[in-house]
Symmetry: C2
Subunit: 458 residues, 2 copies
């Protein structure tokens, strides 16, 4: 009987996060005046300790003990050898995954939610506002806030709010308060509703509402939290890849290919960044962020300065972007429906250190079914996108007759997404590709913005 | 930072199940003629290798290697120290749980589903029929059958079929075929529908349908599978308690109190039987099966001979029973809605080796909320019943100022039961208690049946 799972004990958990800003150079975020944003400008939005982390270039940053303690409820997560999948694909490749679905909210999201709740609490904050698409992030932050006794308010994209009642229930279980976005509680929300009372909402609008709710709170004890995109979020997720490296050391292996799905970038960054460090230092590995063909930020959009939200409350971020007003076609993978991409992930793509891939919705669900029937765990729709790439690479390995080692990030389970699987079974899911015209149209918003430099870090 | 999880490696998995029939004496099951049922009578229903296991009195039975291999996808399951719960309850008790929610279907059920699928496959069976209430068992068996390439047909109690569409989706993901019961596919189903076309169905009816579908299949390649009650099912679940014992050895602890919810008995038996062996041999421990006050089999029903199903297809089993036609009030814990109780668990209760408890629905959900907000994992409604007892015992320990060690079985997660939590939040859940009259009425069915002996095993 071959071993399927490589565990670490809690003692072996990484004690520091890896900060990729020590290894790459970046364009700065820009304020409304066109100048780089200074930390004090962000102070009404985030607590200062997180702002310091956002701009830090220290390679290693200590994980606070109380954060490690909460993470140890489910971490270290198992590294799993996907023996049944290998058999199903009849491939010589060795396929491993980090199972991030084992957290209470069921995804990698609490890795940063717990850290952010902790830093807010330390800074004296009593309430956190945030947005959520399909609900993974809103539930992760609700869980984390419950651990530290902080209030949590979630603006949930209306179409998901209506279609995914159980993510709301999850938030309620952990004491989170969730409203549909656009809501009448904010100016940003009211403006959108006035133009289109029946709008399905979007992540960009929900972000605007959550930021507004934080900065306009008169107690001064409320801050905003973002579940992806920002540097400190990527930082907190690196515990995934750092654990994976330790686990591979235990079995004397090292991956040839690393794969993660990429929406805002945090799931991908979590597994990949610690290995990016090795690649920068000479390791020959392939690193693939995988996105939906219907929201092809890294694979088809330009590298520009753009806002992170629809109402343009955020600074201009240097990133691949489809335009801050972009609303993707209705494919089922809420976590991959963002118009932009984390600046750090964008910079790595600009430099050619990582190689973005796009897959269609049907290929993603097809791969998800192969996985569910072999490895048992039902993958989240987001994970399915990584899986489509894994299946591809495993087949290539077979054609080449090479025993490649593939590592991917199992970002979450699909137990609250079974409705989408039902649609797949009844042939109601279809593929979407954006036309050249649609892309040009949505990209008009940043036409007159400053352009980021094409920096080569070394 | 105190350790929260005690892991075993796959190498440390128990290689044998513990058979409680080596330690207790039992009344035999009786056939329609009033005589003990011989193995050959069961041959149309179960494969002979499982029938042999059902009647075996060997204390240790080897777990086949292919079963261990599939179980190792998620086993050994972690033993978790519930530090956050202890803090929330401010108790000196040390609380541990076996987290059985980590399996792909999300409960302890696949421990026996995998074993049963394996033995059926070994015996040349190509299709398995079964019933399911809330869907945990149907999905577990679908998962297991997918692993061995066997067809799986599930008769799902109609009210759950309508109210819990996602359990059906889960079965579909793993290739299981699910119909609402009563169905028109069987005589048992048609008979019920004729009397009451709008019946919500019951577990007893669904069992009848699944058995009928198996024994009337003309290929001879179909058998029936039951997810609880029978001796071999309890046997397969003992891996839970055997792992727990090894895990406690690692940390030099031993539980004073063992708690599991009990519907048909398999979740309770899994955690408890290996410790029952120690208790029989002199260990001073308390062992509590916990059932709903609205379906109080062990706590209020008599110990009798009764059928396991409504249509009286099964032999007469010596057990506590509310009567085979009993339909419990509509409380939300599908896995605890069975009219009877495993004969082995019943025998232990008769002998006073275990001490049954009953809790109300509201106390159960209240305890579930304490757990969800402290330990993070959202418990299945069934687990909530065990939790209510855990909370009670932890409070008692506080009153007595004693550092008791409590172990309970976290039978499954509640991610597909969030609808019931919503009802709890909106005060739609209520308590039900059966009246003396209702009980007497439902118990009329076994008035003229033979009576089991009150055996003392030693």
């Amino acid at each position: 009987m071959e071993a399927r799972k490589i565990f670490l004990s809690e003692d072996e958990m990484p004690r520091q996060w890896y900060n990729i800003l020590a290894d790459i150079k970046m364009n700065p975020p820009l304020g409304p005046d066109g100048n780089p944003v200074t930390p004090d400008k962000l102070a009404p939005v985030f607590p200062m300790n997180l702002i310091e982390q956002e701009v830090s270039t220290e390679r290693w940053i200590d994980i606070p003990e109380p954060v490690l303690d909460i993470l140890s409820m489910w971490r270290p997560s198992p590294l799993v050898r996907a023996l049944s999948l290998e058999k199903a694909l009849d491939t010589p490749a060795k396929i491993y995954f980090k199972n991030e679905s084992v957290s209470p909210p069921g995804s990698h999201k609490p890795n940063t939610a717990v850290a952010q709740a902790y830093y807010n609490k330390e800074f004296g904050i009593e309430k956190i506002t945030t947005e959520t698409g399909a609900g993974q992030w809103g539930s992760a932050l609700s869980f984390a806030c419950a651990q530290f006794g902080i209030e949590c308010k979630v603006y949930m994209v209306r179409i998901s709010f209506d279609q995914k009642p159980y993510r709301k229930s999850m938030m309620s279980v952990w004491g989170g308060k969730c409203v549909a976005s656009p809501s009448t509680e904010t100016k940003a929300g009211r403006d959108v509703l006035e133009k289109d009372p029946n709008t399905p909402g979007s992540l960009g609008i929900a972000i605007s509402e959550a930021i507004e709710a934080a900065v306009t709170d008169e107690t001064g004890k409320t801050r905003y939290s973002l579940g992806s995109v920002l540097n400190h979020v990527m930082l907190h997720q690196t515990i995934v890849g750092l654990e994976a490296k330790k686990q591979f050391e235990k079995i004397g292996e090292y991956p040839d290919i690393i794969i993660g799905c990429a929406g805002g970038g945090s799931n991908f960054a979590g597994i990949a960044f610690p290995f990016v460090h090795d690649k920068i230092n000479g390791k020959e590995i392939e690193i693939y962020p995988v996105e939906p063909a219907a929201c092809p930020t890294l694979t088809k959009a330009p590298f520009v300065y753009d806002h992170g939200d629809t109402a343009k409350y955020t600074p201009l971020l240097p990133m691949y972007s489809l335009g801050h007003a972009f609303v993707p076609p209705p494919f089922h993978a809420g976590g991959l429906r963002y118009h932009g991409m984390a600046p750090t992930v964008s910079q790595l793509a600009v430099e050619g250190i990582i190689t973005p891939k796009a897959v269609t919705q049907l290929d993603a669900y097809k791969a998800g079914m192969i996985l569910a029937r072999s490895e048992g765990i039902i993958p989240a729709p987001e994970t399915n996108h990584a899986l489509a790439c894994v299946v591809d690479e495993a087949r290539k390995a077979k054609e080449e007759g090479r025993e490649k080692v593939i590592l991917f990030n199992w970002s979450g389970h699909g137990l609250l997404d079974l409705m989408a699987y039902d649609k797949y079974f009844s042939n109601e899911l279809k593929d979407f590709e954006l036309t050249e015209e649609e892309m040009l149209e949505s990209e008009k918003v940043f036409e007159n913005y400053p352009k980021p430099e094409l920096i080569k870090s070394r």
